[in-house]
Structure formats: C-alpha cells, structure tokens
C-alpha cells in the first residue's frame, strides 16, 4: 500500500486509516460469514450422529436385518420389527407419486412450452397457494373429502370392477387407506414437481426447438423427440424430490391413512408409515425400555433414505444449471 504513489503522497494518513479499518471489517465479516456458512454442513452431520447415538442401544442389540425385515412390533415384549412401517411408507409414497407424475409432467410441459403469459399468470398463484397450504390443512381436507370419497365411491367401484385383483380388492372399507394417503400426498407434492420440471424445460436452448419445428415437426413431436430425451434425467430427479417429500410427510398422511401396523396388500388397506409411527408414539416412549431408541431408529431410517434421495436428485439437477 505504501508503495502506491497516489495514496502515499495525497491527503494522507487519515485516509489510510479509514481504508485499513474498512479492510479489517471486511476480513472479520468474511471470517464470521464463513463460520456461519459451514454450519449447514455441520448440522447434517450433527443430526445424523445424534440419531445414530441415541438409537445405538437398539442397533447394537438386534441385527439390522431383524429390525428392517421383522414384522413383529410389540414394544412391551421387546420386539421391534420395522418392516410393516417401512412397507407402509413405501406404499403411500409410490401411490402418491404415481398419481402425481402424469398430470405434473403435462402441466409443467404446458406451462413451459405452450402457455402464454396470461395462463402462466393464472397458474402461478394456483401452484403458490397449493404449496403454501399447511400439511395439517391437507389432512383436514383428506379427512373430510378424500376419505369419504374412497369409502363411498372409489372403494365400491373398485371392488365391483377389479375386486378379483388383490391390489384393488376392498377388505377394510373404512376409507382410511393407502389410497387416501396417496391422493392427499399427490396433491401436496404437485407444486414442487411442477416447479422443478418447469425450470428444467426452461434450461433447454430455444434453438433446439426452432430447429425441430423448422423441419416440420409439430410442437408435441418436438417435445417428445427433442426436448424429453434432453430433460429426462431432470424429470426423474424432480420425481425423486417429490418422492422424498412424500416419504417424510407426517401429519397429513397420519390423519387419513388409518395407522394400523400391518403390511398392506391392497390400495384400500390401512397402513402405518414411519413418520406417523414417530409422531403417534413419541409421548409415551419413555415408559418402555428401548422404545425411545426404536423410535429414533425409525427417524434414522427415514433420514438416511431421504438423504440418499436428495443427494441423488441434487446431483442430477446440478447438471442442468450449468
């Protein structure tokens, strides 16, 4: 600094002092900001290690295979098998994501490729509001509308038309079912999936579309043959993101899915997903030995699966940002 002729000759010390103090502030801000910025990375590690530590009593006592694939859930007798809960979570997630995928892809394509400014302006608040509605309100809607719909309309229809096929047979006609949970989840994850797919379509260069349209392809043919192959990994990542959101959803699913610890065999069977298990039993877990470790183990299983889903989705989506 001192070698700089302008600074050293002209007005002086004072100015140099000011510059130095601004520099110092900047350096300190940089250090503080850096510490704050690496906190999120640390947070993931802390949550993982914390859950692992607290569920260690049960992980060290039973082999992992027994925990993951055991069907017995009798905490008072010391039997902790998560199989029916894991399968229940998977069922609800698969049904929810399966119902959401086709309309989500179509809507995202429509908004990205066809819709004019006015339709986009109309669609945005719809998706924003769907994303803003709290899970418990989705649960209330599910309880008031979806469960009765499944009980009185979808169930009887399905039993009549497809009852010979186990997947669609109605054994438990209460309406509280995998299907009800799936429908609620499908609506909940719709805005997320649409937003992600929409963004991906926007990353494809316009020239690609123009080239295809110029040689006489229709717009749908352009989408199908040119754009979709380009964005396919992104669409899969969007679906995985939606699935991970569905996998961990607690309150909304808990309110409509029946919460019976069994392996569901039909869309109309009740299920008991992992998050619901944690939410319902956390209060009384202290009374039974190993119960708290078992529930935290459930949280750990949930966390590990969702971490894998999310890391996969994020890594795939990163490619589109460039």
């Amino acid at each position: 600094m001192a070698q700089n002729p302008i600074q050293s000759t002209a007005t002086t010390r004072n100015q140099r002092v000011v510059v130095a103090s601004r520099r110092r502030t900047d350096t300190w801000a940089r250090r503080v900001f850096f510490v704050i910025t690496v906190l999120p990375i640390g947070l993931i590690a802390v949550v993982l290690i914390g859950l692992l530590y607290r569920s260690w009593p049960i992980l060290s006592r039973y082999p992992l295979v027994d925990l993951l694939f055991g069907v017995d859930w009798k905490p008072s007798e010391g039997r902790f098998g998560f199989y029916s809960f894991i399968v229940g979570t998977v069922w609800v997630t698969v049904v929810g994501v399966g119902l959401a995928i086709p309309p989500c892809i179509l809507v995202a394509i429509y908004l990205a490729e066809y819709a004019g400014a006015r339709i986009r302006l109309l669609a945005k608040p719809i998706l924003d509001v769907l994303a803003a509605i709290p899970p418990v309100v989705y649960g209330v809607w599910g309880l008031l509308s979806v469960v009765p719909l499944v009980e009185t309309v979808l169930g009887p229809w399905s039993q009549q038309l497809l009852g010979f096929w186990g997947l669609f047979a109605v054994q438990q006609p209460t309406g509280f079912s995998v299907l009800a949970g799936g429908i609620v989840l499908a609506v909940m994850i719709t805005p997320l999936i649409i937003a992600v797919i929409f963004e991906i379509f926007n990353t494809v260069p316009v020239d690609l579309r123009n080239a295809s349209l110029a040689i006489g392809a229709t717009r749908w043919e352009t989408i199908q043959r040119v754009l979709l192959p380009q964005v396919m990994p992104g669409i899969i990542a969007a679906i995985v993101l939606g699935a991970s959101r569905a996998f961990g959803e607690t309150i909304a699913v808990l309110m409509v899915v029946g919460n019976i610890a069994q392996v569901p065999h039909s869309l109309f069977d009740a299920a008991y997903p992992l998050p619901a298990l944690i939410a319902n039993n956390y209060g009384e877990m202290m009374s039974i030995p190993l119960y708290d470790a078992a529930l935290l183990c459930a949280a750990l299983i949930l966390l590990v699966i969702i971490l894998l889903f999310n890391i996969f989705a994020t890594v795939v989506l990163k490619r589109f940002v460039k």
Binding site: V107, I109, L130, F247
Partner: protein, 287 residues
C-alpha cells in the same frame, strides 16, 4: 402449402394439448376442492369467540372458549423462528454469492442446504426432542422456535441465494471498481437491490414455519394459556387443529375445522401479502 388439418400427427398434437389443459384444470380443481372444503366446514363454527378467547374449562368437551392461545402461540413460534433463521440465512446467502460465487465450497454448502430442505420436519422434531432430554430442557416456546428455525433455514437461504444470483453482476462490479470492500458491496448494493426478493424469501419461510406441526409436536408442548415467557410451553394452530379433530365431541371437531380455516387464512394472507410487499419494494431498486 397447408398440411391436412386432421391427419394423425395433428390429432396427436391436439389430444396432447387437451390432456395438458385438462391436467392444469384438475390441479386447479384440487385447489378449489381444498379451499371449498375448508371454508364450507370451517366457516359455520368460526365465531368471534374462537378468535378472541383462550379455552375455558371444558373447552375440549364442547363448552366455551376459543383458540387465541394457539393463534398467538403460532405467531410467536413462527416469528421467533423466522427472526432466528434470518440471522443465519442472510450471511450464508451473501457469503455464497459475493464471496464464494461458484467455487467448490459454495457447491457443497448448496448441496447441504438442499439436503437439509429435504429432511422431514418430524426428524428435526425427534432430534430436537432427544437434544432437549439430554440437556434437561422441557417443552417450551424457545425449543419450538429453535427447531422451527432449523426447518425454515434451508428454505429461506436457498430462496435468498436464488434472488441474489439473479442480480446483474455489473452492479456489484461497479461498486468493487470504485474501491468498495466486498462487505460494503453486500450491505449497500446487494441487500437494497434484492430487498423485494429477500422479503419474499423471509415470508415464504414464515408461512412454512407457521403451518408446520411435526416440528413443534414434541418441542413446543401444548397449553391453554398464552405463553408469557420463552421458557413456557405454548400452543400452536396446527396442533390445535390436530388435537381438536382427535376428540370424540362433534362440537370440538367443528372447532377444529374452524381452526384449520383460521390457519389457512393466515397462510394465504402471508403468501399474498409477500407478493404485494415485493411489488411495492420493487420501486426502490435500480433497474
């Protein structure tokens, strides 16, 4: 030369367009169905008493009182959590954009934030609860605020990060060329210029926080009183809805629907309010 209008290719084009518009209509109808259900079932039991009173004796058997405790509790929880999250989110977003830009560290932090965003709030809740047991802390407003802040942090940070990323580089570079330090650029150029987006990010996180039930289920507790201290337990609206629906009394369940309507109204006000505010603030930025 025009193609035959109804050959197979155009038919497919037409069918797909109809399917797409149909899907959009279905999504819209779902939203309509949700709002209609909540309003139609909630409005009849939504009285002034519901909003202005705390539960009196026998509230959970259908006697008088309201859910003021839960409304205020939720506002305290979400405000506290949002304030706490801003303290961390803003420096992270600024650091990512002005200091790190696209380096490896930045990518790693963004990945971490995306992963944190994906962690379900029940896991944060369970984690927070075990931490509370270890520390010997009881369910309280403060514990609820801290866990909710964890839920809100990644949402807010990534939203701010996106907004700041869209700021034209020139502005920051002009300031740097005039001799500003990076901190000065961040505080005097980036924040004022992106204020509308930052406000949107904050309110987005607030809306997420106020509606979250799983995170506060074990950490904030539930009480019929309005919280007077950070160390007391507090009620919250999502849990009020959940508990009232769990009772065997039809009158109480009706109040659960009304509480759901109150929650929905608050969330929608926040959502539309943020858009309005962002549009207002947009005027004060350099285009």
């Amino acid at each position: 030369m025009r193609l035959q209008p109804w050959n197979r290719r155009h038919l497919i084009e037409r069918i797909m367009q109809i399917a797409m518009i149909g899907s959009l209509v279905i999504v819209g109808l779902c939203l309509g169905a949700i709002l209609w259900t909540i309003i139609a079932r909630g409005l009849p039991s939504l009285t002034w008493q519901m909003i202005s009173q705390t539960p009196k004796g026998g509230f959970y058997m259908g006697k008088e009182g309201g859910v003021l405790n839960a409304i205020l509790g939720s506002l305290y929880l979400a405000s506290g959590a949002t304030a706490l999250a801003i303290v961390f989110a803003l420096p992270i977003a600024l650091y990512l954009q002005t200091y790190l830009a696209t380096s490896g560290w930045a990518q790693l932090v963004r990945l971490a934030l995306d992963v944190l965003w994906g962690i379900p709030s029940i896991v944060y809740g369970a984690f927070g609860f075990t931490l509370m047991i270890v520390l010997g802390v009881r369910a309280s407003l403060l514990a609820g605020i801290i866990v909710l802040a964890l839920v809100e942090l990644p949402i807010m940070t990534r939203a701010m990060d996106e907004v700041i990323r869209r700021l034209p580089r020139d502005l920051a570079q002009a300031a740097l060329a005039l001799g500003s330090t990076k901190l000065e650029v961040a505080l005097r150029v980036v924040i004022p210029q992106t204020l509308p987006g930052i406000v949107t990010a904050v309110l987005l996180a607030f809306g997420r926080g106020i509606g979250d039930a799983a995170a506060v289920l074990f950490t904030a507790g539930y009480t019929d009183r309005i919280p007077t201290s950070l160390l007391r337990a507090t009620a919250s609206l999502p849990l009020a809805v959940f508990f009232q629906l769990g009772t065997p009394y039809p009158e109480v369940r009706e109040r659960g629907y009304a509480s759901a309507l109150i929650l929905t109204i608050i969330v929608l006000l926040v959502s539309f309010g943020s858009r309005w505010l962002a549009a207002r603030l947009q005027r004060y930025t350099v285009k």
